[in-house]
Subunit: 200 residues, 2 copies
DNA sequence: GCTCGTAACTTACTTCGAGTAACCTACTGC
DNA sequence: GCAGTAGGTTACTCGAAGTAAGTTACGAGC
């Protein structure tokens, strides 16, 4: 089997087993067996157990970025941007419940450099939100915009975990909940800014 | 040394080393050595490496609960409850940067049962927030109150991590940021409820 | 003031899994 | 038909979790 295809298969299997059992409880032998290949092949392609985990996270990250970018492409107002972005995030979560659990709960942790990879995902999200705020309100305090973005990302992550225990809450409702809490505060901030700096 | 005292010492050392190096990179021999005792003593008192980690988390959890409870004791309005609770949380974080890193970043974890312990901390927080909402607005939709609580807890956790990279943002400012984003939305919800259910 | 019981502790293992060295095999271009 | 290489394997090392069995310190009872 060609390398690229084999790597993709390894990532799929690893993501599944990591999500099932947790990172620590999973052995490389087990992954290798389920892939139908021997352990050194995993090391050939991913270097280490940690490398394999990072590969999983990286792939998920790429996918999430693409979906989010596509979702917000047509948005016109800050509210619409936020709503579409959040919606894309929650839809990604339900499609990838297992690997999301892995990313958010298992990986954040065990492995320092996997953590950086997870941070990278958050960075994408906060950058997106921060850029929306800044593009619609260039006068906003930089620090405050960052804090807002972090707050929204944190809220979504946590709510996504909660949604797993509440199957009745789908992406649409989750988005509504988050928007209901945060939008009035964000809107108020955006409204006040032009008063403070009327030019722009 | 008596058991209770030795256990406390072990927890302190373990928390420190776990936070420094991460859970995976820390060996029980290393902890034992730094405690000045042999490895089987750790197993005698905590059963496993995971058990030791859970012990650390549990202790931090207890402390956080006590501080939060004390902080919100005198609150009169929902806004005050939230503000004091959040403030207590952020103050706990800066006082315990190390163990917080452990809880949130390291322990968020690779270890399933440690995760339950971390979930327990969140449960405390969401319960607190949920009970505030319910006590001030008994008509609120149960599911929505839970979602609100999760959103607030998620926002705070994320912002706490961000604060570590922004030493200029102390507990007071962090609390302000979170309140600025979430309070208008929560207030709006509480205001609307009596219209929907005018008795209570 | 001796000894019995137990709490606190240690040494010396076993086991298991991450990571590696060295070797094999089949196909592709020439 | 042979060389080089991509894709693969077997069989190890090594480090760390966890354990069995034994040792020391010390207070209670006689």
């Amino acid at each position: 089997m060609p390398k690229a295809q084999r790597m993709a298969q390894m990532l799929t299997v690893a993501e599944e087993i990591f999500a099932e059992q947790g990172y620590l409880a999973t052995s490389m032998d087990e992954i290798a067996e389920r892939v139908g290949v021997s352990k050194p092949m995993l090391y050939e392609y991913f270097g280490s157990k940690e490398g394999l985990l990072i590969g999983c996270i990286h792939r998920a990250r790429t996918e999430l970025r693409e979906k989010t970018a596509a979702a917000i492409a047509g948005a016109g107002s800050p509210e619409e941007f936020l709503r579409l972005g959040l919606r894309a995030f929650f839809e990604f979560i339900v499609d990838h419940q297992r690997s999301w659990a892995l990313l958010r709960q298992e990986a954040a942790i065990a492995v320092p450099s996997a953590q950086e990879e997870v941070e990278g995902i958050r960075q994408q999200q906060t950058d997106m939100i921060g850029s929306v705020l800044v593009s619609f309100a260039p006068e906003i305090d930089q620090l405050e915009a960052e804090a807002f973005a972090e707050i929204v990302v944190g809220a979504c992550e946590r709510l996504a975990v909660w949604c797993e225990r509440r199957p009745s809450v789908g992406p649409a409702l989750a988005t509504d909940y988050v928007m209901a809490v945060i939008w009035p505060g964000v809107a108020e901030k955006l409204r006040k800014l032009p008063e403070l700096a009327p030019h722009a």
